[in-house]
């Protein structure tokens, strides 16, 4: 009989110091407090991601609830092959795509794009850094879905590119390429806004 692992009472270990994987394992055994703690840690990031992906706060709230329910149901099958946060992002993205497909919302595939030279990126960053908050949000909302996803996950949430690749289901090289194109597209959108009908 192999009794190599011994556990304390589970109620004693669901606390704020528990790591994400531990909390997920408790969620898998039906501990609501554990899901509350996970939500407090990652709910903001997930919601931010979903708002950008879904394009509307109401739809993001709806998908967030679907995501939490999916986490509750699937937590016992989490095998720690990625971080818990990445796993939750994967579920959130899948739920978002499912809901958007159901509602026939924009599902833009990644177009074949050429290489981006480093010399183009400096001006793009300058445009982003000097844009107003409203202009930035507007430009973000006009990006294609693949570009929005990598911008939020890699730049806004600061996830490692490997994790972004896992969540979005593409190679790391594609993540880099999408990011570069997204930055150029942002600059273009910001320039257009500045020179639009209301520009001086």
């Amino acid at each position: 009989m192999d009794l190599t692992t011994r556990f304390r009472g589970i109620a004693d270990v669901v606390d704020g110091d528990s790591d994400d994987a531990t909390l997920l394992s408790h969620v898998g055994r039906g501990h609501r407090d554990a899901l509350e703690l996970l939500y407090r840690r990652h709910g903001g990031s997930i919601l931010r991601f979903l708002r950008q992906v879904c394009g509307s706060p109401e739809l993001a709230e709806e998908v967030l609830q679907e995501t939490l329910l999916a986490v509750w149901k699937g937590a016992s099958r989490f095998r720690a092959q990625s971080s818990a946060q990445t796993w939750i992002f994967e579920i959130a993205r899948r739920q978002a795509h499912t809901v958007m497909r159901r509602k026939r919302l924009e599902m833009v595939s990644d177009d074949a794009l050429g290489d981006v030279s480093d010399s183009d990126l400096g001006p793009a960053d300058l445009a982003i850094a000097s844009a107003t908050r409203d202009a930035l949000n507007l430009a973000l909302s006009k990006l294609s879905l693949p570009h929005r996803e990598v911008i939020v996950l890699a730049l806004i949430e600061g996830l490692p590119y490997g994790e972004v690749a896992r969540i979005t289901g593409v190679p790391v090289g594609t993540v880099r390429s999408r990011l570069n194109h997204a930055r150029l597209a942002m600059r273009k959108l910001l320039d257009e806004a500045e020179m639009g009908p209301n520009a001086d």
Binding site: G30, R79, A129
Partner: protein, 614 residues
């Protein structure tokens, strides 16, 4: 390499993490240092920081109530599939639910309580019952894969319970069904997707009702050993004890007194459940074994499910006493070797075209996953893995065993003791490849002539037993064999011969298996192509050292014994002495070539007998 690519990675990749404060201190210092010297990265950092600040959202506080409402609805639909609250209270709730139903008699005792609940391989749960007594043993069988187990004091354990015995007088085992149905949602292929749900259907055996009248049987010669039996069981046991010779009974009692009292009691209960004449024969057989083997045998039998132990005793009781003792001795060694050993209960018997009865053994339970239902409610699930298990198949002389692969597609290791002859008890262990559909074994097959019985090699090969036959059907893979090594005269070598067929598939002779001796187990192991095992004979043999020498130049050496073999070229110069490794087949002899240090076949008419090399 640019400044932004130091260390094999892009600093730009980590600027966002740096700004979020999620980098480790060393990496953070590195990125900060780079940003201080690189204008373009500093600009990028400025852009990312601006982005991060622009899309902030209010941090959420609590999971929305609507989510919990949906969770409540889920749990109402399947109350035990997702037990709410703490682990212990969920178990207690399940106990209360159960005790009102079929299990009332089982759980009414003060100490009875639920012991464990587990997530098995597909996320179904397993429900276990503890005896609540001083021993605090869980009522689990060796095929339940346990994730968590709570003992009577509330301590929780995790692990794989592969050898926990039931000391409780009830049965509570789920019977496996033909498998559950799986439905997936979300369209994800990720194993961690969290979107796969599994449903299972099955039944659970009804608990055995407490016997109407319980008597305590004191065993003569074994002080302190008592066992509670029903009146009819006690009567049966007494008849069984009376059927054994007095000397054998004395020896048997000595073995019992050396055993764990719980296992000794379980042994007596087992013997009380089989016909008296079988119990008497078992006592006689056990008394003939060395004490350690006898203890291992009885402990192993007591740990088997009653149906398996009863079938084992029933089959062995039909064998002559000496053969039964040899088989039980081998079984005791299997039990002693550890691991999970089960006995295959014989199924239907059909008469084949060759007049031999074929006994069917179905390994359907291997790898199955099933839930346990109480009434209409699924309360648990169990999984049984075939891997690492050894299943014992005992078939009488004159019969053959047909073993069929289970629905799960997994094969256990199969132990196949020879049940008659000078090597009764010799037990090949066969590991069929996954694609095999059937395995056939005949312990004492009919032989056509002396050649099939192993008389080959001009006296230099001495068969140690008649052959047994093994067939593996439907596979193109390799079959693993493990067979005991037998001690022979120091001037000889021991090995196994396997059948070689000609191009038409007919018996052509024997060749020596290229086996590896494993000192830890004292067994020889080798692989054989399943395609070569069409009713193949095998037998153990002793090999007398023998040598041949070529008296002329130009002797060729081949890859095999037939015309299809590849020609490896000239074997060696004139008067090379070759060591004979295996018996002659056709016109060729399998030899060790000292010139190349390798093995091959040479034509017998090109060599003559010789002494050992000088």
């Amino acid at each position: 390499m640019s400044n932004s690519e130091r260390g094999g990675f892009h600093v730009t990749d980590r600027i966002a993490s740096f700004l979020k404060g999620s980098l480790d201190p060393v990496s953070a210092a590195e990125v900060a240092g780079h940003l201080a010297t690189c204008a373009s990265c500093e600009m990028m950092a400025s852009a990312i920081g601006h982005l991060q600040a622009s899309v902030a959202v209010d941090a959420p506080v609590r999971v929305p109530a609507s989510v919990w409402a949906q969770v409540d609805a889920l749990e109402a639909a399947s109350p035990v599939a997702r037990l709410a609250g703490s682990f212990t209270s969920a178990i207690d709730a399940a106990v209360r639910s159960v005790s009102a139903r079929t299990w009332g008699s089982l759980l009414s005792g003060e100490g009875a309580r639920m012991a464990g609940l587990t997530v098995a391989s597909l996320g179904v749960t397993a429900l276990l019952l503890a005896d609540g007594g001083a021993a605090r043993q869980a009522l689990v069988r060796n095929w339940i894969n346990v994730g968590y187990y709570t003992d009577a004091s509330g301590n929780q354990f995790g692990g794989y319970f592969d050898d926990v015995q039931s000391y409780y007088g009830y049965s509570a085992y789920g019977t496996t069904s033909s498998g559950g149905s799986t439905s997936s949602g979300g369209g994800s292929s990720s194993s961690d997707s969290g979107s796969t749900t599994t449903t299972t259907t099955t039944t659970v055996a009804a608990p055995v009702a407490a016997p109407a009248s319980v008597v305590t049987v004191a065993v003569p010669g074994v002080p302190g050993l008592k066992v509670s039996l029903s009146a009819s069981e006690a009567k049966n046991l007494q008849a069984g004890l009376a059927a054994a010779p007095a000397a054998a009974l004395q020896s048997f009692n000595k073995v019992l007194s050396g055993m764990n009292p719980a296992l000794a009691g379980a042994t007596l209960k087992l013997m009380a459940s089989v016909p008296a004449d079988q119990a008497g024969k078992l006592i006689s057989t056990v008394s003939a074994l060395p004490a350690a083997q006898a203890g291992a045998l009885l402990s192993g039998l007591a740990g088997l499910p009653a149906a398996e132990a009863g079938a084992m005793i029933g089959t062995a009781s039909t064998l002559p006493a000496a053969d039964a003792a040899a088989v039980f001795s081998a079984v005791a060694d299997l039990f002693s070797a550890g691991g999970s050993v089960r006995f295959a209960v014989p199924g239907a018997v059909t008469r084949g075209a060759n007049g031999v009865d074929a006994v069917t053994y179905n390994f359907d339970d291997g790898g199955a996953v099933a839930g346990i239902n109480l009434g209409d409610e699924e309360v648990a699930g169990v999984s049984q893995a075939s891997g690492g298990r050894t299943v014992l198949v005992v078939v009488k002389p004159g019969q053959q065993a047909r073993m069929k692969r289970g629905k799960s597609g997994a094969w256990p290791n199969i132990a196949l003791p020879v049940t008659a002859g000078p090597r009764a008890g010799l037990t090949p262990i066969v590991s069929p490849p996954a694609d095999a559909t059937d395995v056939w074994f005949e312990p004492v097959p009919a032989t056509a002539n002396e050649v099939q019985r192993g008389s080959l090699g001009g006296g230099s090969v001495i068969p140690l037993s008649p052959p047994f036959s093994i067939t593996v059907a439907g596979s193109k893979g390799k079959v693993g064999f493990s067979l005991p090594s037998i001690t022979v005269d120091p001037t000889m070598e021991f090995g196994y011969l396997t059948q070689a067929n000609d191009a038409k598939g007919a018996f052509a002779g024997y060749t020596r298996a290229d086996a590896k001796f494993v000192p830890a187990t004292g067994r020889q192991e080798f692989d054989v192509n399943a395609a070569d095992l069409g009713g193949a004979f095998m037998l153990p043999a002793a090999f007398q050292a023998a040598y041949v020498q070529n008296f002329s130049e130009g002797l060729r050496i081949y890859s095999g014994w037939d015309d299809m073999a590849a020609d490896f070229g000239e074997a060696g110069p004139q008067f090379t002495t070759f060591k004979v490794v295996a018996p002659q087949i056709g016109n060729r002899i399998y030899v060790f070539n000292p010139v190349t240090g390798n093995y091959g076949w040479i034509n017998a008419d090109g060599v003559g007998p010789s002494g050992p090399p000088k």
